[in-house]
């Protein structure tokens, strides 16, 4: 049986804007993902600990407070410390393009800004997980066919 994609949707820092995180969580759930939502005001440590405990495929952070250049690198660093190598760190919020690129260079996945469809986010996570779960030969599989290798 293919394991469902497990995603941790997290709100890091003091930011209380949870409309986007909840909409994305609902859409992922309706798309068949298993979604764990951390709730508000989590520290990077709490988020990474939850990611380890829940054995997720992806961590999706929502940050609208401008603190993304501090929080994404910190979460990524902790994920590496905990050995979460094949886990995607993605997210969205009010994040200028040059900051998205700077974070990508550090190893963060794609980040999504205002106006993104939930479909685009879901396709991206599916594609990433399919590529990273599958053996090398299946890396080019269409994003929609996830988990076929397990």
């Amino acid at each position: 049986m293919a394991r469902k994609i497990r995603v941790l949707v997290g709100k890091a820092g003091l930011d209380g804007h949870d409309r986007g995180a909840k909409v994305v969580a609902s859409a992922m759930r309706d798309a068949g993902f298993e979604v764990i939502y951390t709730g508000l005001h989590q520290t990077p440590e709490m988020i990474v600990q939850a990611a380890v405990q829940e054995d997720v495929d992806a961590v999706a952070l929502s940050i609208l407070s401008g603190a993304h250049m501090t929080l994404f690198p910190r979460v990524l660093e902790l994920m590496r410390e905990k050995g979460l190598k094949d886990v995607l760190l993605t997210g969205g919020g009010i994040i200028p393009k040059e900051d998205m690129e700077a974070l990508r260079k550090q190893g963060v996945g794609d980040l999504f800004g205002p106006g993104t469809t939930t479909g685009a986010i879901i396709d991206y996570v599916r594609g990433w997980v399919a590529k990273h779960r599958a053996p090398a030969g299946a890396a080019g599989a269409a994003p929609a066919r996830t988990g076929t290798s397990r």
């Binding site: 949707v9 820092g13 003091l14 930011d15 209380g16 804007h17 949870d18 409309r19 995180a21 909840k22 909409v23 969580a25 609902s26 859409a27 759930r29 979604v35 939502y37 951390t38 709730g39 508000l40 005001h41 520290t43 407070s65 401008g66 603190a67 250049m69 501090t70 929080l71 009010i94 200028p96 393009k97 800004g113 205002p114 106006g115 469809t117 939930t118 479909g119």
Partner: protein, 560 residues
């Protein structure tokens, strides 16, 4: 009044000829794709509105502005007599940066100040707390100490401007700091005009910036209302806010209902404490969002005034006309702005601002076109202010109050939104009031459901967002300038708060903190104790720590 209207009815043009416009526009006939015949909030819109759609109690509704139930406006001449207050929300970086922006905006014709605080301040943490990491000065101005507050308002005559402070969980501290700064400048509290948002119920419902649980939070709100009623007759002790509820995804009717239910909740608590409703109610103020659906928004403002006037008269037996008046600030809908083709936002903001004016707002903030990307640049903030000035001075809409009064469509919509909102308020009453409803997560769930429904409609193309899911620009590169916050600001702010802690008189500080701690264990009004603590240079974080110890920290159930 009634006679004039009866005459109007006779004179009105007959309904459209059979088979004309209504048939051509009926949904069955295929309205234009992507434009559903319903409001943004899902209220169905008929093909044509006629006299038959007017509410039965039209005479009551059409009482002139300045008369109960105030549907047509709070004051007889409305903007003929006095324009609304143009109040642009500002705040970023250090207190000195924001002080500079305040002077700039006042120099450009803004008529009231409005302060945005940064996340650590909003959440009750000093700049050097670990939770503040990376957030100092980013979304607003950092204020940890009385010293910061003095710099923030340096050179501004506090007895001549009115100041709004968007602060909630630590509102009592910022209010005390404002009073203390004025005191140092020889200005007594009764000369201060302005507003402190201090609406904790909507924090639990929507904005999610809380410290302690709902019940003690409401207790502190009531402390402020009580203290202001006695000492600050020109101050709005609370701004009961629908803005955040709407931004979180609520429909117009939900915004109206949950906000008015919050208002009812505060009034109930004040009355329970033995306060005379006519002493505090005149200083309650409100805050609406103004979204894209033009007529629905105008109807919302009008319906809100009527519901509040009737609730205050019939439920709380208020007698002072000022207790019945829903005075409101309004802000254009940040959530409606798009990161794509950001210049388009100037048009959205103008239309929303016009709706607020036609709805009869007392004060208005217009958003800047770049706010989906970052805090506004000076240029973008100026265009936003100019938009209000164009409406005020060029369009002529200020010449007569409630110019849409009597419109078949607007009156029908006003009645419909009122009915829907009253339905929610009734449900909340049945649950045992708004505090219980919030503890159960009822408004939170309703809002999340509405937000998800809206997003699904957008993704199915049933809702058009220009530049996002239709009329997109190919390979769009966003090139407008964006305000950058210098990371050095955090460092500087940390040094400043530590310096204050090191240099302040220790004994006075310890005494004030100990008195505050004791007061938290009693039912006493906390305002005098917070004021003393602030005078003794206690920091915002320290005072909030006392609240955390006394009342506990709130954790919401993480549901979606």
């Amino acid at each position: 009044m009634a006679e004039t209207r009866a005459e109007t009815k006779v004179k009105r043009a007959p309904a459209a000829p059979p088979g004309h416009a209504p048939a051509a526009l009926s949904p069955a006939d295929g309205s234009r794709p992507g434009i559903p015949p319903e409001t943004l909030s899902g209220i169905p819109i008929e093909p044509l509105y006629t006299e038959k759609d007017l509410p039965e109690d039209l005479d009551h509704r059409m009482m002139p502005p300045g008369e109960f139930p105030y549907l047509r406006g709070l004051h007889p001449g409305m903007y003929r007599a006095r324009l609304w207050t143009m109040r642009q929300f500002a705040g970023y970086g250090s207190a000195a940066h924001t002080n500079e922006r305040f002077h700039y905006l006042l120099g450009h014709g803004m008529t009231g100040l409005s302060t945005a605080f940064d996340m650590p301040t909003l959440m009750g943490y000093d700049a050097d707390h670990p939770m503040s990491l990376g957030e100092v000065g980013r979304e607003g101005v950092a204020v940890s100490t009385l010293d910061d507050m003095e710099i923030l308002f340096h050179g501004i005559p506090l007895d001549q401007v009115t100041t709004s402070m968007t602060i909630n969980a630590p509102a009592i501290i910022l209010l005390a700091m404002y009073v203390a700064v004025a005191e140092k400048n020889g200005i007594p509290p009764d000369k201060l005009g302005g507003t402190v948002q201090a609406d904790m119920l909507k924090e639990f419902i929507a904005q999610k910036e809380w410290i302690i649980p709902p019940r003690p939070s409401v207790k502190i709100c009531v402390d402020m209302i009580e203290w202001c009623a006695e000492h600050m007759p020109k101050w709005n002790s609370i701004s009961i806010s629908g803005y955040h509820i709407r931004e979180a995804g609520a429909t117009a009717a939900q915004e109206l209902a949950f906000t008015l239910a919050d208002g009812i909740g505060y009034v109930e608590e004040c009355v329970k404490r033995g306060m005379d409703v006519d002493v505090f109610a005149p200083r309650l103020s409100f805050f609406w969002d103004v979204h894209n659906d033009f007529f629905e928004e105008i109807a919302k403002f009008r319906a809100g005034r009527k519901i509040w006037a009737e609730v205050m008269r019939d439920r709380f037996h208020a007698k002072n006309p000022r207790s019945l008046m829903l005075r409101t600030h309004a802000q254009t809908a940040g959530v409606s702005l798009t990161a794509q083709q950001p210049l388009n936002n100037v048009a959205r903001v103008a239309i929303q601002a016009l709706a607020a004016v036609l709805g009869g707002t007392q004060s208005l903030h217009t958003n800047s076109m770049d706010e989906t990307l970052a805090l506004p640049t000076e240029e973008a903030a100026t265009v936003a202010l100019r938009t209000q000035q164009i409406i005020a001075y060029e369009t002529g809409v200020t010449a007569t109050p409630d110019p849409l009064g009597g419109s078949y469509f607007v009156e029908a919509l006003t009645a419909e939104i009122e009915k829907e909102a009253l339905g929610y308020i009734r449900r909340i009453d049945e649950m045992g009031g708004i505090v219980v409803a919030v503890e159960k997560g009822y408004p939170q769930k309703e809002i999340a459901d509405s937000a998800y429904r809206f997003q699904q409609q957008v993704e199915r193309g049933e809702r058009v967002i220009v530049g996002v899911n239709k009329f997109q620009a190919e390979n769009e590169e966003i090139t407008i300038p964006v305000l950058k916050i210098d990371p050095e600001i955090e460092r500087g702010q940390i040094d400043r708060v530590r310096a204050v802690r090191a240099r302040r008189p220790k004994e006075r500080h310890a005494q004030a903190m100990s008195a505050l701690r004791d007061a938290c264990m009693s039912t006493k009004n906390l305002m005098p104790f917070v004021l003393d603590a602030v005078r003794a240079e206690a920091t915002l974080g320290e005072i909030c720590d006392v609240f955390r110890e006394a009342y506990g920290v709130y954790r919401e159930p993480a549901v979606f």
